[in-house]
Symmetry: C2
């Protein structure tokens, strides 16, 4: 038994995806993923967070206009949320709400800039989305974000039946969605009727095969070492990274609602996704796994012109429609 | 848009699989996959085929004894088959039969040695399996194997309702199972009630991202170049490798029965699997995709002591039970 030596290689852009996706796959990895640019101090973190925040907000107005969705700030249980609504909601979806825990490595994506995935989902799935602007490090490490998510969840449950509520998240938001469902179970609170986790960060420690096999192959995250590891440690704030409240792959999946999981063949989180899928299946949970050809870690592949993006959210729409109660029609 | 340069790496054996699977993943790639040992003449092919055949047959008696299954030769429509039966078949499975198209890269796996997957399935799923010993190159290139498979399929249909018949295959056998279902559709013959394809060779041309990303990462197939490409060309016998009858990923998947697909994160055929999965989903077919952590291309990971192997066939058993008609109990 030995480690395997793999020689240096050139990976061509695959011919088996759309031209738009080929462009996305062909982009060179960002230099910000390297250890050179990892913040060392609280001030450096805050600066990088602000920079990214500004960039995220810039693209939103045009996207909302194109997709014809409206975003409103709304406070729930003392937590700021953004409710993203499509201009037209079908009768069967009037009573349904999706809760989104945004991506951003547990550090980035605060404020309105964190509503990108909510905008895509609202527009392409035709559902109202409540995106939670949970607190984050460096000021608020774990468990602040999870406390906020749970508070919003309880608040929503006070006015809506859980069978009309589903939860989704990508990346760190996917990990949080899994951890929140486990926590709701432990606290005896109703679970969402369905769960969608896109390329979830289910293991904050460097455990899982694709952290190694897809290092440098994934052009979004690139490697665990660098910004990703630093963000994990900032969020964990000294806690063991394999604590199931931080890394839900180590938690209990029994009794989970139907769960849709998505990842890509080049995804650094391919193993983070399929390990959770295996545990869900072992627990007898209804699952759907989708692996997208050639794609690295999301959500950098969110592109309104990519048919693969439309396919992903179209599939999510179908999944939510199958598992959310239709509610009383008016 | 550019190809991505990935530097040389050491891939450790993952900690996230069973000890038996760790041993399998840690095995060094076989030297037989390199171009040095690719046969150049018909005589060299026949010699390599005979060598592999002998090795395959050696392990069978012990495995059959351990699993308590019996194998009988049976000719159907002029084609030799092997019927593998578990010692005890549950009442609900008495009328159900699985048809197996064995693996072996369209060249190897002839004779009784090709019944390995049938033995695992019969034992671990508790179902009777008819394994087709179809003709192969160098004497019989395409379409001989497909003609044999179709002849057996028609013969079985004359005595059994299609709702009691399911089809499965790994690797080249998985590719053939997909191609056979497409051909049955074209010829107006009943389709199997369910289909299971493990890491199917759905594209004989070097098209698909994991032919590149998992080259040298997969310790079974290793690379497309070498034995694999040579086997594809021997089978195709001058035909275009992207002919859908050879590479069913290019064929039509509408109207397919429920299909279970399995692959691994290190599988050279990861893309061969997920590309078919995507097309099935786009065609509205009920599917189940499973990606096994750390595994390379099967069926080298068939091991009676690996819990992952038991899990795979246990899952197949559940899948077939859900989709095969129970038949008249006696």
């Amino acid at each position: 038994m030995s480690s395997r030596h793999v020689p240096a290689r050139e990976l061509p852009v695959p011919a088996t995806v759309s031209p738009v996706m080929q462009r996305i796959i062909g982009v060179d990895p960002p230099s910000s993923a390297t250890s050179l640019t990892v913040p060392r101090t609280t001030e450096q973190w805050l600066e990088l967070i602000a920079q990214r925040r500004e960039r995220a907000v810039e693209s939103l107005p045009r996207l909302r206009e194109r997709f014809n969705v409206v975003t409103e700030e709304r406070w729930l249980a003392g937590v700021r949320c953004y409710v993203v609504s499509p201009a037209c909601i079908a009768a069967r979806n009037q009573h349904r709400v999706l809760i989104n825990l945004h991506s951003g490595g547990h550090v980035f994506g605060g404020g309105e800039g964190g509503t990108l995935e909510a905008v895509y989902m609202a527009a392409l799935a035709g559902l109202r989305v409540t995106s939670v602007d949970y607190r984050m490090p460096p000021e608020f490490p774990f468990p602040a974000a999870m406390d906020d998510a749970m508070a919003v969840w309880r608040e929503l449950l006070s006015g809506t039946s859980a069978r009309h509520l589903a939860l989704f998240g990508f990346s760190s938001g996917g990990g949080m969605a899994l951890a929140m469902t486990q926590r709701a179970k432990l606290e005896g609170v109703a679970l969402p009727a369905a769960l969608m986790v896109g390329t979830p960060w289910s293991d904050l420690s460097k455990t899982g095969d694709s952290y190694f096999t897809n290092a440098g192959v994934d052009n979004g995250l690139v490697t665990y070492e660098g910004l990703l590891e630093a963000a994990a440690r900032l969020y964990a704030n000294g806690r063991d990274l394999t604590d199931p409240r931080l890394s839900p792959v180590y938690g209990d999946f029994s009794g989970f609602p139907p769960t849709l999981l998505t990842t890509g063949t080049r995804d650094l989180f391919l193993s983070n996704t399929v390990r959770v899928h295996r545990k869900l299946r072992d627990a007898g949970v209804e699952t759907q796994l989708d692996v997208y050809e050639g794609q690295s870690h999301g959500p950098q592949y969110l592109d309104p012109d990519a048919p693969e993006t439309t396919a992903l959210f179209g599939q999510a729409a179908k999944f939510f429609d199958a598992h959310l109660g239709p509610g009383p029609y008016r």
